[in-house]
Symmetry: C2
Subunit: 268 residues, 2 copies
């Protein structure tokens, strides 16, 4: 997707500011954002036409652990309070264009698809609490193994809103038994990025048959650790897809919006 | 407003359940709800037509300290997840009917005014954290003096949403200097009922000229204590009034909706 003129990635992308990273993506660089601008919180993006925005806003209000809203833009505006000067249409590495609930295209620049009544939702990302887990010495398996965290569709329903309903999607991180309490304590301090786990232990309690076969992301080694499950922002995409919205624009998984807000701002 | 057939208040209303209290109000009893069903959280009510609900929902998302949403109903439904079997049109002691931003009537039963597209917002009430303050030995002056807490319009703007904008309204409680930290610590644990103070000390810092002349509620004795200011749910009513909404239905100040949810459920 990146063009011949795209800038080269910097030596250490972790040291960039949010604005520095966004400028590279705006210029055409396409990369996943894990580890980029390490001090800055990242966010999931989903933009929908104003006519569908009420249901999505209500859905988020009713399911705050799956869908913690960091910001919601004015209809038609690509600006956000989370990053001065940012343009949400261009400042992510890549976008998915959804029509009638299906991804029809992946693009580097969403401007041609951004209708004048689009409302953008920026949703908290677990990268923020993963940073805190690592700092406390709690291992994060999918980072160790260099893959995307495994996500599973559960048998637990969300609370529907208007046309939107569907099952809760969770992410899973295996945690050593003696560190489960610490993992709960740490993530509980970050309610804006999914907060404390929704389930600790037996996957069957969430209707998950096989941890080795996630619905999204990659399987990780569980070994003798306890599988710990957090509400996941992918819930929103799954629900929006199921409801076959006319148009939605989202980030590509792993290619997030980098804000100017430090991770610590979301710590309670 | 209560009719001749209205039931007598019970011996000790603090011991009622939420459902017990609601049944009395539904039958016509009109009283303020401070101290009623003491274990149950109470909520502010504001209902608006669906056409105005998006702006109000977005306003709440952008101003969560002033407008912490405990529940938002489906359009047209008088039911809430906070209280099984409750009917929001009848189960409060009294209602205000607003047209074009003005109170035109106070009624015991809002049913005749409840259009088929009304959306009700239930907003957290500081009664929940006041209970926690009292349990910790922090005095609550307006309860001691048997008056409504003083509220002030500040010079601090809220973050607007669509047609809605206006100044932040705060409530004030004088706290002894040695207990200010404890008051902050306790209320910070209740983000769904306004959370930690927005300002501690000099009222001029919020543009408040005279603590003795509140804009809403009653003045209380400050003495040598520190004035401590919390974001207040009246912000919403002030903003909705300023925007001259076609129709709104709210509780009458002090006559709240009593939920089935224990105060402790809102403690983080």
């Amino acid at each position: 997707m990146s063009t011949a003129a795209a800038p080269a990635p910097p030596g250490d992308p972790a040291l960039l500011t949010g604005a520095g990273a966004r400028a590279l993506f705006r210029a055409g660089l396409d990369t996943d954002t894990v580890g980029w601008a390490a001090a800055s919180a990242q966010a999931n993006l989903i933009a929908v036409p104003r006519a569908d925005a009420y249901d999505l806003l209500l859905f988020a209000q009713r399911n705050p652990q799956a869908c913690p809203l960091l910001d919601v833009t004015d209809a038609g505006s690509p600006a956000t309070a989370l990053a001065a000067g940012a343009d949400l249409r261009t400042d992510l590495p890549a976008y998915r264009i959804w029509r009638d609930g299906e991804v029809v295209e992946e693009v580097a620049d969403a401007t041609p698809y951004w209708r004048s009544d689009m409302v953008a939702f920026l949703i908290g990302c677990s990268l923020t609490f993963e940073t805190a887990l690592l700092e406390a010495g709690v291992p994060v398996r999918h980072l160790e193994e260099g893959v995307i965290d495994p996500m599973y569709v559960t048998d637990r329903p969300t609370r529907g809103a208007g046309a939107l309903s569907g099952p809760l999607v969770v992410s899973m991180r295996p945690v050593p038994a003696h560190q489960v309490a610490e993992a709960v304590r740490i993530t509980d301090r970050y309610p804006d990025v999914h907060g404390a786990p929704v389930h600790v232990g037996d996957p069957a309690g969430l209707g998950i048959a096989d941890l080795g076969r996630p619905d999204f992301g990659d399987a990780v080694t569980v070994g003798g650790d306890v599988p710990v499950f957090w509400a996941c922002g992918v819930t929103t995409q799954a629900v929006v897809a199921a409801s076959r919205l006319e148009l939605a624009i989202t980030h590509v998984p792993g290619r997030m919006f980098i804000t100017d807000v430090p991770h610590t701002a979301y710590r309670r």
